[in-house]
Symmetry: C2
Subunit: 124 residues, 2 copies
DNA sequence: ATACATAGTCTACAACCGTAGACATAAAGC
DNA sequence: GCTTTATGTCTACGGTTGTAGACTATGTAT
């Protein structure tokens, strides 16, 4: 499976819209994001060029569609973020987040449950 | 407390070196990072200009020093990353990381311990 | 004092990013 | 068939980023 290309901030906002509902035309995206249509078109071209999205032409309309799942892209971004800010190691990052951003009791319970579930899958 | 300015990838690598040992001269940093000295100097100027670091001139040498702790910067970066990629919510992100990046048994244990400790401090 | 070395400042430059105008093309309605 | 309208493509432009050469100023050694 190919890995997703780098996606900039503004491009992410477009990807997000598409992940919610696909496929969409440039006009539909512009309406939803309340952005200048021309700007959206530029971002769409760039995303197409870097093969983050594709499109099908049906009659007069171009329908855009992502070529990667949100999860794939999140995974990828997390990786590079991790490398940049936390030197690549996950644990310090999670520690930091957990310590720093106060989580509610409920969230903590959920995370613990998650960790229990993962226990079986984790590699030793 | 002022918030840290945006720091680019390359600049992070300099900050990292400084956080490990401060203060340092540009030459020392260039040596450690094995980068072209001129490039380091540029980054240092930019970091000074955006007030991420400061320096003291002692005799012939300029000693650079960070103006923010690593934790502060990590916090800041985590925030913007979170907003961009996970729509600002922490839990999905941690879930994603925990599910996706396989953690060792040991790491899982450590995280659980961390969560227990945090229980008391977390807000309800 | 004079020359050498060191370290900051100015300048540059290509690539990328956010933003968007101008232009072309093609479908659709009249 | 011709005009309107929608939609992609080309071009642009200022700002940032990574990279680094050239110039300058100032200690340092002789």
């Amino acid at each position: 499976m190919k890995k997703p290309p780098p996606i900039t901030d503004s491009e992410w906002s477009i990807m997000k819209v598409l992940w919610k509902k696909q496929p969409l035309t440039s006009t539909q995206i512009a309406t939803q994001t309340k952005s200048h249509p021309q700007t959206i078109k530029t971002f769409l071209s760039r995303l197409v060029k870097k093969k983050a999205i594709g499109y099908e032409k049906t009659g007069r309309s171009f329908y855009y569609r992502t070529l990667f799942s949100e999860k794939e892209c999140q995974r990828h971004e997390s990786r590079s973020f991790l490398n940049r800010v936390f030197g690549g190691s996950l644990r310090p990052m999670i520690s930091h987040l957990v310590e720093d951003e106060s989580l509610s009791q409920r969230e903590i319970q959920e995370l613990k449950a998650l960790l229990n579930k993962t226990s079986r899958g984790g590699k030793e």
